[in-house]
């Protein structure tokens, strides 16, 4: 009796240990699942109509000064003294890089405007955004995607293109009303 009681005690202790272990494993699994979902949300994994789509958002670097002229954009970096000119498509993409508009939405609108394949447009778009990201002009955003992007693209689609110019050199010596610009001393 005592043996059985001890066996019972043992088994009950084993059961309770197992229960604790199970609950610990369960909590670990739950934590991992939570983290996976959280990471997925951060990289904008979302489910639409039963399909899972990966999307990214980029946002403009805050130290870049830019202005739109004639449908194109001029970007200037005060820190590096570089200037860039974006063509019509590229400047439309640049304006959409607010950290909340997904690349999917942008690609869809561009493809609709140009009557092109969405996948091809998205490939060009991703390559372009990565190019800007490598130059420090864009950075990945962790913000939530804003549903229904209010992005309208007018005109025909041409692949996005960026040209770089320098700010040149400043005044030769001190700034002067006479000019005298050229290779700075």
């Amino acid at each position: 009796m005592s043996a059985r009681r001890s066996g019972d005690a043992n088994s009950s202790s084993r059961n309770s240990a197992g229960a604790v272990e199970n609950s610990r494993i369960g909590s670990v699994i739950a934590r991992k699942a939570y983290r996976a979902i959280h990471d997925a949300e951060r990289s904008s994994v979302f489910v639409r109509k039963g399909m899972v789509q990966m999307s990214r958002q980029w946002e403009r670097a805050r130290d870049i000064v830019w202005e739109e002229l004639g449908g194109e954009a001029v970007l200037v970096s005060p820190t590096t003294s570089k200037t860039w000119v974006l063509n019509h498509t590229a400047s439309a993409i640049w304006k959409c890089c607010d950290g909340q508009t997904s690349i999917d939405d942008i690609a869809l609108k561009l493809a609709e405007a140009g009557r092109l394949d969405v996948a091809n447009v998205k490939t060009e778009l991703l390559a372009f955004c990565k190019q800007l990201e490598s130059q420090g002009m864009l950075r990945s955003s962790g913000r939530a995607v804003r549903a229904g992007a209010s992005f309208a693209f007018a005109g025909s689609y041409v692949p996005p293109f960026i040209r770089m110019h320098g700010l040149g050199v400043g005044f030769r010596g001190r700034p002067s009303s006479r000019g005298g610009s050229g290779p700075a001393s």
């Binding site: 000064v65 202005e67 000119v85 040209r163 010596g173 001190r174 700034p175 002067s176 009303s177």
Partner: protein
């Protein structure tokens, strides 16, 4: 007692430096656009400008304090004249004042330099040369060694009077305002231009390109603006860059920039300009 002078529509206070010059300037000094102090102690102000670089600009023969809109200028050069190659004699004082007003508009915003007579006008300085034709002023922009001095001095100078050689100052009408065309300011005194006055309407704006052929080509506004940004005095200030971009955009909206391909020959160049209505 400060003397108020009018220069290209701007009211300027000009005064001699007091013996007990105080620094920082008292808040009571609020100039209409620019407060000019003629000083005999320029080195002291230059030293101060080196120390307070964030608010002051150390220029060639001048020191500008942005927040108080004050310009220190050597009293000895108040009436000094400089010769700009073929552009004739010009007063350094007048050029410096307009240059500083353009810098104030860039750094502090166009509203700072707005006066009742210049309310809808933006000042802009460009790295360019200019000549005067019957249609108005032609402005040639380009980096160093692009041929600005050559085209305005050697090639076109014998036919069209040169206005400026290395830096052109302009007045641009603001966007969405029914104002007159951009005007090129002229600081010299030449007999041929005596009837034109001190401002000529802008007839053509070009970005130079040395070439074997002569032609004029369309140019994108954005590309023209990015090239015309230089030289930028306040190149580290985002708001100054933005202001300058917007002023250039106002210019290009009213007068698009064209790319001018040219060689060192007068006759075909003059013929090209006349055929396109620029002269």
């Amino acid at each position: 007692m400060p003397q108020t002078i009018e220069l290209f529509g701007y009211s300027i206070n000009v005064s001699k430096e007091a013996r007990n010059n105080s620094w920082p300037l008292p808040d009571a000094i609020v100039p209409p656009v620019l407060n000019v102090i003629l000083t005999k102690n320029m080195p002291a102000h230059e030293e101060r400008a080196r120390r307070y670089r964030s608010r002051m600009l150390l220029g060639e023969d001048f020191v500008l304090d942005y927040p108080s809109q004050t310009l220190w200028f050597p009293a000895s050069k108040r009436k000094a004249i400089m010769e700009i190659k073929n552009a004739g004699p010009q007063r350094i004082f007048d050029r410096t004042i307009l240059f500083c007003i353009a810098l104030l508009a860039e750094r502090l915003g166009p509203a700072v330099v707005a006066t009742p007579s210049t309310r809808h006008v933006l000042p802009l300085y460009l790295h360019a040369s200019a000549v005067a034709t019957a249609c108005g002023a032609l402005v040639f922009c380009g980096r160093s060694t692009f041929g600005k001095s050559t085209i305005s001095g050697e090639i076109l100078g014998p036919i069209f009077p040169q206005l400026d050689d290395d830096q052109v100052t302009m007045h641009i009408g603001m966007l969405n305002k029914k104002t007159r065309a951009p005007r090129v300011l002229y600081f010299g005194r030449r007999r041929e231009l005596s009837t034109a006055g001190s401002e000529l309407p802008l007839a053509g704006l070009f970005w130079l390109q040395k070439s074997a052929e002569f032609k004029i080509e369309e140019m994108d506004q954005a590309e023209a603006a990015s090239l015309m940004l230089s030289p930028l005095v306040n190149r580290r200030r985002p708001i100054a860059i933005l202001n300058r971009l917007r002023i250039i955009r106002a210019l290009l909206t009213k007068m698009p920039c064209r790319r001018l391909y040219f060689a060192k020959e007068q006759a075909p160049l003059v013929e090209l300009l006349r055929a396109n209505g620029y002269a």
